[in-house]
């Protein structure tokens, strides 16, 4: 079965083999050029591997966009054990790219993990994968066992003298385990409560030892860069944001799915051309370009490029690259309520502003949606939102307020229709 939708305007580096059932098998993967980068990388020094990733300008794909090579270079070079954690907790609503990377190209991810571990000289790498990814784990587990069998993992990998253990570690349902220090706590057998930073994971990470946490997609890009070099990778994207990125597109679209695009691609073309826009007879109401934690955009705002800077200049953020499209059948109040309920459910509860703020927002939104809202509710929502930003251990609290604040700014009419006339302005 081919991957649901492909588009000629895509640039498929990481997703080249999506839909190719054979590519999950190690022999077929090697036939397709797999593990060539590993051979090359192990002939380089660890610092050289880090340097080429730095030169390529690869930024973290987990949401924050931190330069990957730079992060690796923060790892202290002492004789303590070091760890790599591959963040495969993917649970930001609207994001489903890491799942597809692991489902279709598990060896691409494993190869990236080995190369990154080599660069930071980790002795053990953990893939922290969300427990709900049942089918994906089956595929991934098989791939890990096969990689061990071929000598890509374990002792003295390909005769290089480098040893690495890799363990697949399953979560058990917690969005906050995707936040890197929440992940580390969860890996250690604790509640996935984020830690106060500093110390950063590079100083004190898993089991109190230096640790690098990288997203699945970040790691999957590494073999390509090591194999073909920094200049080659820089032929795509922008100066500041080189390369390609996967966009998970969902909601009201004719062709939802994952699309891989260079980072100078136009957002409007992604929505209207590649994804085919909203269903026949419907008009686009709003777009959220980077998962539920980024500001909502109006159709008039989406004529920008999908680089992080491009989207930021247009008033939103690229986040994890999970695009959610809404057409005119959408009740904006309900959509925002649903997103906020998610954060209320997932708040770990350590910080008062987050714990209380998320549930207050959800309560007020439910009231407005029912038609029992008051005019003071909008300033009240904004006020609660303002109190949730920048005051907590982790940015979940900020994230939760974002859909509320941005939707009130841009879709006030929809709120007022509920509050004043007790009706929804969605076109059914």
């Amino acid at each position: 079965m081919a991957y649901p939708h492909e588009h000629p305007h895509e640039t498929r580096l990481l997703s080249k083999h999506f839909g190719d059932e054979d590519a999950v098998r190690i022999d077929a993967w090697i036939e397709r050029g797999g593990y060539a980068a590993l051979k090359k990388g192990l002939e380089m020094t660890p610092d050289e591997v880090t340097q080429v990733v730095k030169d390529a300008g690869l930024r973290g794909r987990g949401g924050a966009g931190f330069p990957a090579g730079l992060k690796w270079s923060f790892m202290p070079k002492d004789d303590r054990p070091r760890y790599l954690a591959c963040n495969a907790d993917e649970s930001e609503p609207g994001t489903f790219k890491d799942r597809e990377l692991m489902r279709w190209t598990p060896h691409q991810v494993i190869e990236g993990i080995i190369l990154a571990s080599y660069a930071i000289q980790a002795q053990h790498a953990y893939i922290y994968i969300r427990g709900e990814f049942v089918d994906v784990v089956r595929v991934l587990n098989q791939a890990v066992v096969d990689a061990y069998e071929r000598g890509y993992l374990g002792k003295n990998i390909l005769g290089s003298g480098f040893d690495l253990e890799l363990t697949v570690h399953l979560g058990a349902g917690a969005y906050i385990a995707g936040e890197e220090t929440g992940l580390l706590n969860s890996l250690e057998g604790r509640r996935a409560e984020p830690r106060v930073k500093p110390p950063f994971p590079a100083q004190r990470g898993a089991f109190d030892m230096p640790t690098t946490v990288n997203n699945v997609e970040t790691l999957a890009a590494v073999p390509h860069i090591v194999e073909h070099g920094a200049d080659w990778y820089r032929q795509w994207g922008t100066e500041k944001r080189p390369g390609t990125k996967l966009f998970s597109c969902c909601g009201h679209l004719q062709r939802p799915g994952n699309y891989e695009l260079p980072l100078d691609f136009n957002l409007k073309d992604l929505v209207l051309d590649i994804c085919g826009g909203p269903p026949e007879g419907r008009a686009l109401l709003a777009v959220i370009p980077g998962g539920s934690s980024v500001p909502i955009m109006t159709p008039a705002e989406i004529d920008c490029d999908v680089s992080y800077e491009g989207v930021e200049a247009a008033g939103s953020l690229l986040g994890s690259g999970g695009l959610i499209a809404m057409d005119d059948s959408t009740c904006m109040v309900r959509a925002v309520r649903r997103m906020v309920e998610f954060y209320a459910h997932e708040s770990c509860g350590q910080c008062t502003n987050c714990r209380e703020g998320t549930s207050w927002l959800a309560n007020i939104l439910r009231r407005i949606e029912r038609g029992d809202g008051r005019e003071e509710d909008l300033p009240l929502l904004l006020d609660i939102g303002a109190n949730m930003a920048g005051r907590t251990i982790c940015p979940l609290s900020d994230s939760a307020a974002v859909p509320v604040v941005s939707s009130i700014q841009k879709f006030e009419g929809e709120y007022m229709a509920h509050i004043k006339d007790g009706r929804c302005s969605a076109v059914r």
Binding site: P4, P81, E90, S91, E92, P93, G94, T95, F96, D98, R99, R130, G131, E132, F133, V134, D135, V137, N141, V144, V145, Y148, L153, E165, L166, T167, V168, H169, L170, G171, A172, G173, A174, Y175, S186, L187, E188, G189, R190, R191, A192, F207, S248, C249, C250, G251, H252, P256, G257, N258, I324, M326, T330, R334, A335, R338, M339, F342, H345, C348
Partner: protein, 175 residues
Amino acid sequence: MHPAIVSAQPSQSAEKDPDAPLFEGVYLERFEKILSRYPNRRAALLPVLNMAQALRGWLSPQTMTRVAELLDLTPAYVRSVASFYTMYQLRPVGKYLIQVCIGIGCDLCGAEDVVERLLELTQTRLGETSADGKYTVAEVECLGACGFPTVIQVNDRVYENVKAADVTGLLKELN
């Protein structure tokens, strides 16, 4: 089983057995393999709870106490960790645990209708188990497959693109 992949999935199976021997024979071996992958015993907690739930279907107080003993933790600590994670069932569930994603991606595309149809056909209320012990229908947050709505997880299987009209067929397939 290779020690790299011993971490079990916390998902349910239809053949769960609340009294299954958990720390004997092959399971004891698996337990030892789990321990071998971490620098301390506490880190084995999630993988071991996952294994317990996969086998027994839920985490009873007795199960958690036993896990605590084996990992040199207190029962209260194990309970506090277990209660943090949504996939751990602290009460028994039906033979088929039907979890419907109501995340924004699925909500926009009709997840509510799917839930309604499921409740109607299984004659249950949200989170409650049907009288015959067969079904528990629950709403869950984003399952990470938002482009294929509505996403439903039944025990250890994921169904994508489920519409309300597909629910009858889906329940038939289970039986």
